[in-house]
């Protein structure tokens, strides 16, 4: 999995590419840990180029959301598609996260 990060105004945008599985999810955890420790509380995750996610990836997203909730932060998700969207729906994650059709819509809501 490739992780691209950029800071835009108050938000950190994390774009994921490839496969978020049990091997690569800890890499995501480390990235978001660093940002939260630096005081960031608004995170957008761009799923446009993510092709695959397993329960390890879902756990990482949930863990991030739980942490941000404790510090009045927020995580927005954008552009889920294909197998990733399906896994979010099946696991009930679609109904607990703010999900936007594209990155611009997420940016407008942060």
């Amino acid at each position: 999995m490739e992780i691209d990060v950029k800071k835009e105004g108050q938000a950190v945008i994390i774009a994921l590419t490839g496969r978020m599985d049990a091997v690569s999810a800890p890499q995501f955890d480390k990235t978001v840990d660093d940002f939260i420790e630096q005081g960031e509380t608004r995170i957008i995750i761009d799923f446009k180029s993510l092709e695959y996610i397993s329960s390890a990836g879902l756990q990482s997203i949930l863990a991030l959301a739980k942490r941000l909730e404790l510090i009045n932060g927020t995580v927005l998700l954008s552009d889920l598609n294909g197998a990733v969207k399906e896994v979010f729906e099946i696991s009930g994650f679609s109904s607990i996260f703010p999900i936007y059709d594209n990155l611009d819509a997420a940016r407008a809501s942060i």
């Binding site: 599985d21 091997v23 092709e51 863990a63 739980k66 696991s91 009930g92």
Partner: protein, 152 residues
């Protein structure tokens, strides 16, 4: 009959070896493209369960067997020699809670159950054997599950 058979140490380091071989085999044996990520997901979840829990920190192997069950279905078996563990007996996780209420964990087996058409566990000697049957084609999980039941 074509059969994929891999035995490797139960370590995360080898997960990609299993999944890449599985994907190649499924492509070569006519699994529809849209179903391949679902099979990858079911197999990853099952392998990761073995890797994380079967051997309680001790070394051990995990074995993957993939073949053709009949003209409609593929069969996948995942075997380990760890403590008896019937994944089919696990309670369903709550998938309706809020971010605060949702528990970490428990989703892996639930996802396996949703990705495959039939899931069976048996203890064979000192080994756990998890068997998945997956229809060759067909769209949504719910439809394929209904088809299985209708045909049973």
């Amino acid at each position: 009959m074509s059969l994929l058979h891999i035995i490797l140490p139960a370590k995360l380091d080898y997960l990609q070896n299993f999944i890449q071989s599985l994907t190649r085999w499924l492509q070569q044996n006519g699994m529809t493209t849209e179903k391949i990520p679902r099979v990858e997901l079911a197999v990853e979840e099952a392998l990761v369960n073995v890797i994380r829990y079967a051997y309680e920190g001790q070394a051990g192997d995990v074995e993957l067997r993939v073949g053709i069950a009949d003209d409609q279905r593929f069969v996948i078996e995942i075997l380990d020699s760890g403590a008896p563990f019937d994944v089919c007996a696990l309670p369903k996780p709550d998938i309706h809670g809020s971010i605060k209420d949702r528990k970490m964990g428990g989703l892996g087996v639930f996802l396996i159950q949703r990705m495959v058409d039939e899931l069976l566990y048996r203890r064979e000697g000192d080994r756990n054997v998890l068997t998945m049957f997956i229809c060759r084609s067909n769209g949504q999980f719910s439809n394929s599950r209904q088809d299985m039941h209708a045909g049973a």
